[in-house]
């Protein structure tokens, strides 16, 4: 889940919880407030009444009840014979003209003219609750409005604050062919954490990039530098063959030297080729029919097929045209794959080169009936100098598939490998759009 989504969710949820709690508490709160207010009002009325009685004398009011026709409140004063002195406010029911109504009643005993009186001041509970409902509604609406406002504000602000992070992820981490990072565009932000993150990512990628670059340069330089000494040695050996006065035994040993020198030469040339491909020193300007290229590979390789009596069949439409490729490199890609299919094949085995077109996604599979590759080994077969399969007939130094990989990457071809031990392997080349033109 994205950080922004998480924050938004948390914000909304926390506010929802607050609203729920508040809404649950609201009736009780309003009730308490209302009651306090009513009680205060009753006490004020009591004080006023006592004052009036004091001034005017009790006789005008003894044994009197006053209420409005709506019976929302009443005041009564009467002689009280009980012993205790009351001064309470509580809810009680009273029967007035046949109606039983619940009142909030202030009861107060007082003495006047040597008699004990009881004064009751009451407001009906209904009248009180009538005001609580609108109060509750208003409170609820105001609350809701404020919550919505804060959610919106949170959303806008977190959007604003998190935008640099999104930019860093989008422009620096996603969709970049690692480690080809390109130039450094600073992400604008006033948040120092993001600034730090941006710079750190950039520095790390730069370090990785320069390490890769150094490795490539090293391989390129080393193989170049090795070319001249190899060249000298090769010339010397070749000239020595001309000398008649060497015994055959010496000549055989010179032949061994020549073979070993050839091996050194192949390794160096291959490494140089890989580094040249990785440094993009090849052009992609050739166009030719795929079937023709495979035929050329076949011409080179037929002697090897013959040697092991391996069948070779192709199913490639004649109108498949390779567009904007490097022929030399693609030839070497197919040569190495088919050569491997021969090398790791069994006597009387077979090789199929089959083209597929699934909804204009073009691919070619090279299927052999060879010794196969163990499942655990497949992820490593493209690594340099890794030799997993023991070739049956000849030696190699483990650079065949690395060449294939470099050339494939240079042309944006994806390689899928499936294999079963002792049954065979399939190397499927998935071509990028535009690689094959039908024509």
């Amino acid at each position: 889940m994205k950080l922004k989504t998480k924050l938004t969710l948390f914000n909304a949820l926390s506010k929802l919880v607050i609203v729920t709690i508040f809404v649950a508490l609201l009736p009780t709160l309003i009730k308490i407030i209302n009651q306090n207010y009513t009680d205060a009002k009753l006490r004020k009325q009591k004080d006023k009444l006592l004052q009036i009685i004091n001034v005017q004398g009790i006789k005008n009011y003894s044994d009197a009840s006053y209420y409005t026709p709506l019976k929302e409140d009443y005041v009564s004063i009467g002689v009280d014979s009980s012993i205790e002195f009351l001064d309470t406010i509580q809810n009680e029911k009273r029967l007035i003209q046949g109606d039983t109504i619940e009142y909030r009643i202030l009861s107060h005993n007082f003495n006047a003219e040597h008699k004990k009186y009881l004064m009751e001041i009451a407001i009906s509970v209904d009248a009180i609750t009538e005001t609580t409902r609108p109060l509750q509604n208003i409170a609820f609406q105001v609350l809701l409005g404020m919550i919505l406002l804060t959610i919106m504000a949170d959303q806008v602000y977190s959007n604003y604050v998190l935008r640099p992070l999104g930019l860093i992820i989008k422009t620096k981490l996603i969709g970049h062919k690692f480690p080809n990072f390109g130039s450094y565009d600073k992400v604008k932000t006033s948040t120092s954490d993001f600034e730090y993150l941006d710079i750190s990512i950039h520095k790390m990628i730069e370090t990785i990039e320069s390490t890769f670059q150094k490795e490539r340069e090293f391989i390129s330089n080393a193989s170049h530098e090795l070319m001249t000494p190899i060249s000298i040695l090769q010339s010397k050996i070749e000239n020595m063959f001309e000398q008649e006065d060497f015994s055959d035994e010496v000549k055989t040993r010179m032949l061994e030297m020549q073979k070993i020198l050839n091996r050194l030469k192949s390794i160096t040339k291959t490494l140089l080729l890989i580094s040249q491909i990785e440094n993009e020193q090849f052009l992609k300007e050739d166009s030719l029919p795929l079937a023709e290229l495979i035929q050329e590979v076949y011409d080179e390789i037929s002697i090897r097929l013959q040697d092991k009596n391996i069948g070779f069949e192709t199913a490639i439409p004649a109108n498949w045209q390779l567009a904007k490729v490097n022929k030399f490199l693609l030839f070497n890609l197919f040569f190495n794959l088919i050569n491997n299919a021969v090398k790791y094949n069994k006597e009387n085995g077979s090789i199929h080169v089959v083209a597929h077109n699934e909804h204009d996604i073009f691919s070619v599979s090279i299927i052999d009936t060879g010794i196969g590759i163990g499942e655990s080994e497949i992820p490593f077969i493209f690594n340099r100098f890794k030799k997993f399969r023991q070739s049956l007939s000849q030696d190699s130094f483990g650079l065949g598939l690395p060449i294939v990989k470099s050339i494939a990457e240079f042309h944006q071809i994806k390689i899928e490998v499936t294999s079963k031990k002792d049954t065979g392997s399939t190397f499927k080349l998935n071509f990028p759009p535009g690689f094959i033109k039908i024509g």
Partner: protein, 227 residues
């Protein structure tokens, strides 16, 4: 024929000189661009072999000078740089061929011969080998007026290379380098030369036994031509 060898690696220059002298070329060697430039300005050569990586001179500049003062000379670039860009530029500037180091001396000689044939339009290159008439220009083999048309391109390449270096034993490595040299793969000891030779013998045998194609036990193959 006169050859100017421009190569700053003295050991390599020496080997080039020894080899080409044996093939009856008259060689002059210089180890730096300045002397080479001087020589190009004064003398006329049939071949100029230029190493691109000279310490004091850009090899491509030398090539330009050579084209100016020695317009008829065959210029071959020898380089360890092997950059695609250099190759294109070298050929653009009029180099006749381009050999990346490390190259085989035999390869150099066969290129020099091929260019000579092409450039000077030499008369049809016909070689008679025990009744087989081999035409190096048209790349055909015939036996008393009937054409041997079963020979493949690769097989002819092998025969032609052996003829070019006649009476000399060529090792399997040298032969494979010639016919598979441009392919980059990771086999370093392929024995398919034997299979090719076997095929060639079988095909020619239907006409006459090709005794001139000799196996030199343990060393390689050679074609014997008595001149």
């Amino acid at each position: 024929m006169n050859v100017l060898i421009i190569e700053d690696e003295k050991a390599l220059a020496a080997e080039l000189e020894i080899f080409l002298t044996k093939y009856n070329y008259i060689c002059e060697v210089c180890y730096n661009g300045a002397t080479a430039s001087e020589k190009i300005g004064i003398n006329l050569y049939d071949f100029i072999l230029i190493d691109l990586g000279l310490p004091d001179y850009d090899g491509l500049d030398l090539l330009k000078e050579a084209k100016k003062h020695n317009p008829d000379a065959v210029c071959i670039i020898l380089t360890a740089r092997a950059e695609v860009y250099d190759r294109i530029k070298g050929l653009d500037l009029g180099a006749d061929d381009y050999l990346p180091k490390p190259f085989s001396l035999l390869e150099l000689q066969s290129r020099m011969q091929a260019i000579t044939r092409r450039k000077f339009g030499l008369k049809q290159n016909l070689i008679d080998l025990g009744g087989f008439l081999i035409n190096l220009t048209d790349r055909t083999i015939s036996y008393y007026n009937s054409e041997v048309n079963t020979i493949t391109k690769k097989e002819f390449d092998l025969i032609a290379y052996l003829i070019l270096h006649k009476n000399r034993t060529l090792s399997r490595s040298q032969l494979s380098e010639h016919i598979w040299g441009s392919i980059i793969n990771d086999d370093y000891d392929s024995n398919y030369i034997d299979a090719h030779i076997k095929n060639i013998r079988k095909k020619l045998n239907t006409f006459a036994p090709p005794d001139w194609l000799e196996t030199v036990r343990g060393l390689g193959y050679k074609i014997k031509i008595n001149s």
